[in-house]
Symmetry: C2
Subunit: 165 residues, 2 copies
């Protein structure tokens, strides 16, 4: 992870890609979202979705995996180059979780994150808040998933700020 | 599911309870959220969480399971009594996903949903929008999970409304 000062609004990174199989769609649904259109092809064909599709939370969980793995890759690269790695704090939460279109069997979803807001607060000079939009887009370029995620990121200059405050 | 007209703001239902084990916390994390404090007791002890804790998305997924199962139980009861079952549409999305406290190994979380808003729109007389807050509360009464979920629910009187419109 880069330090807060190195982040720029508009920065966009593709974090990974995933092709959803019927088997894993059903496995996730059996455990966490046992609705007929996530579990059974025939029931799904009769539903408003028209065919078997992934639980929206399954899409969210796969996006999470790619976001986490991309961060780990970046941190490993930095360590290998002998560069410092900024700390990230727990997420204060997410907003506006949306699934504009279903994810069907065989769809390949590309996950990306884009920085939409950067904020600092006088009472927390050691960190900045990064708001990023995580998205999933299918092979036809259609948005299937979107969420705004907030994370605290370590600032490089917090010692200086602290001394001035 | 009851019809939209039968819903009341403030109605609260407990949908289920779940005790989180170390094994399932790690299994979910391996698949979807491979951060050290969800995967390994010693790494978690050194983290800001202080001990192994569940991915927030794991808590969300378990809440989802209980919400879905509670709805299925209610629908089955209605069918058994020969009562009609209102249709529910896909969710237009969720807001304000929060994890105010970690879920640690052995914590028992009680999941509930409470109706916070009911809305109708002139251009969609057949359904109403129900906004419900889903929550998870641990055995000490502390909130560990909260999200606002919107769902379209069939209205009993939509034919009448349609005729009037």
């Amino acid at each position: 992870m880069t330090y807060f000062e190195d982040l720029r609004v508009g920065n966009r990174t593709e974090v990974g890609r995933h092709t959803f199989t019927a088997e894993e769609i059903k496995a996730f649904a059996r455990e966490f979202d046992p609705q007929p259109f996530h579990l059974d092809e025939e029931a799904a064909a009769r539903s408003h979705f028209g065919a078997l599709c992934a639980s929206g939370w399954h899409t969210a969980a796969i996006c999470l995996r790619h976001v986490v793995l991309a961060r780990h890759r970046e941190q490993a690269d930095r360590r290998q180059r002998g560069e410092p790695v900024a700390k990230t704090g727990p997420s204060p939460g997410l907003r506006d979780l949306k699934w504009p279109r279903p994810v069907y069997v065989g769809d390949t979803i590309t996950f990306a994150q884009e920085i939409v807001e950067l904020r600092t607060a006088a009472n927390r000079p050691e960190v900045g808040l990064r708001v990023a939009r995580h998205t999933g887009t299918n092979q036809r370029g259609e948005l299937v998933y979107s969420v705004l995620s907030s994370t605290f990121i370590e600032r490089r200059t917090h010692d200086l700020d602290g001394a001035q405050g």
